[in-house]
Amino acid sequence: MKRVRALLRDNARNANAIAYTLMILGALLYPAVVQFATAGNGDYLVGLAADGGIYILMAIGLNVVVGFAGLLDLGYAAFFAIGSYTYALVASNHLGVTPLGHSLHVPFWIALFIGMFTAAGAGALLGAPTLRLRGDYLAIVTLGFGEIVPRLFKNAGIWTGGVPGIFALDVPTLPGWITGPWVNQPFGWVPDFRFTTDNLTAYYVLMIVLIAVVVVLVHNIYNSRLGRAWMAVREDETAAAATGVNTVSIKLLAFSIGAATSGFAGAFYGAKLSYVSSENFGFVVSVTVLAMVVLGGMGNIPGAMLGGGVLYFILFWFLPNAPAQVESLASAAGLGVLNQVNPNGWPGIAEEVSRSKYVIFGLILVGIMLLRPQGLLPSQVRKQELRHEEHEAIAAPRQLQG
């Protein structure tokens, strides 16, 4: 009891501890609350949250690259694609129709890690020649990589299924040795823990477990000599090198770990959808994940997760539902006239909102960044940096720099 109280006292003012606690509680209660609120029809929302978890995983991974090591990666979706396609190749009938003529069905858990290591390898391969570049140049190279990889998958013909992609991937399974009360037994809101398309709660639970594991691992590495070296490289690469940090290999490590997380998320994504197509890995995915990290709070793990959750919610729930909501709001407010289509060009408010979806999205992003330039849940460092920038701007008007 005493220890609990001490723990509470120490963390009562720690924003990250509070965020973690709330996230754990939210994650645990979410399925039950959703099912209750929708009278048992909440499967769609649970599945939506499970998909959101994929973006949260990617945000955690990109936070290592951008937030910890300070490397701007604009082609992050490429590793997501590599993870997905790797999973698709080793866990479907597809290899059977390729010249190899022999399909592979690697068990889900092994295939997940194959996807992860392939993406990490691709990260190392891309990073080795390019991480000698600094700042903007690296951003441009990764941008190119992000464009090349999906096109490669699209045009690799029979190997990747071309434009339609690869279908009928193996769905996740629990390892054979895991048995429990839920196996073939009704178990409250986790009725039958099998990964089928109509049991989205199973995906949700698995997603939460995976995120928890990744958070612990990334947290550990951040608080080790490697995390410290990343910070140092971000702060001053020259000084880090003089102090004995092999800057190229430490950046390569950050890059590969980010790629591995993305590949891991990609493999899970493929398994969940049971389908991969090059259409799903465009530049917009890279940018969305980057926006999640920046908006959530660069360099802070719960910040990136929060950013991921918030942006995902806005993009995949709020914006699609907004037109209908606005319509009923207009009716309720006695402005039903707004809902009617006017032949002179007014398409009805629902249509209008739906058309300006991305304007609204942009406005929300701009609004959040104006209100909280440091991110929703910033790291201590980011807070300090912004404060100092303000102080310096006041103390010394901008001078011409040589």
Binding site: N220, A241, G244
Partner: protein, 254 residues
């Protein structure tokens, strides 16, 4: 005494400009060796060649029995050469303690696996280097600033923190680039004491310094550069009375 660092025929050209021109000297183990010269003489370029930031155009840098010519900076640091910078280069948004802890990086053994899973090896190593870092902070008189961001320290404290960080790499040779720049007389005395403490720990000190009082007091031998060339070498008294050195600093009398 044995030479710890041999610089042999070192030349560095940037296009047509010869920044360091065929310079040779030995730094002996256990001494304080100073490099002086007017502004733009090539002193910092020479430091950068020794620590691997520049690749020498010609010549060799031999440290102990290893040829370090052209090795990257992290390898020279691992070999045992630590340095500070003329314009202080700390990790601004890391605590003073973390700055020093980072200095241990190249002597640590925890691998990715250990970091990911917080193995006992990793935990023990972190504890040891944290203790050692606190000792080093105490050595430079910053033990009460451990949790402050480096950029929030006073100027003199930043200079000393940079020395502590360099010492954390467990060097055999410490290169100080103008350690007394911007110091008041009191701070200069403290710095000279610190140099003696470092020397007693068995670390050879090689410094660039403009303050002649500091140089003459603290160093056993001096080498003088002018326009990239070595114009004198020897004990302080000899160098002070060398005609070429006086001319380099004051100009030739007509």
């Amino acid at each position: 005494m044995a030479a710890i660092l041999r610089v042999n025929g070192l030349t560095k050209r940037f296009g047509g400009l010869v920044a360091v021109d065929n310079v040779s000297f030995d730094v002996e183990a256990g001494e304080v060796f100073a490099l002086i010269g007017p502004n733009g003489a090539g002193k910092t370029t020479l430091f950068n060649c020794i620590t691997g930031f520049f690749k020498p155009t010609l010549g060799h840098v031999v440290f102990g029995d290893k040829d370090l010519t052209g090795s990257p900076p992290h390898r020279t640091a691992k070999a045992g050469i630590a340095r500070t910078f003329q314009n202080i280069r700390l990790f601004d948004y890391m605590s003073a303690l973390d700055n020093v802890r980072l200095g241990h990086h190249c002597r640590m053994h925890a691998m990715l696996w250990d970091s990911l899973f917080k193995t006992p090896l990793e935990r023990n190593e972190e504890r040891e280097i944290t203790e050692h870092s606190m000792e080093l902070l105490a050595l430079v008189g910053l033990e009460h600033q451990a949790d402050n961001y480096a950029r929030n320290l006073a100027y003199g404290q930043q200079r000393r923190l940079e020395i502590a960080r360099a010492l954390a790499t467990s060097p055999k040779l410490l290169l100080l680039d103008e350690p007394a720049a911007g110091f008041n007389p009191q701070e200069k005395v403290e710095l000279m004491d610190l140099v003696q403490t470092i020397l007693r720990r068995g670390i050879t000190v090689f410094l660039i310094e403009h303050d002649m009082r500091v140089v003459m007091q603290v160093s056993q031998r001096i080498v003088v550069l002018d326009h990239g060339e070595k114009i004198a070498e020897g004990p302080p008294v000899e160098v002070r009375n060398n005609q070429r050195v006086i001319e380099a600093y004051l100009g030739k009398s007509a």
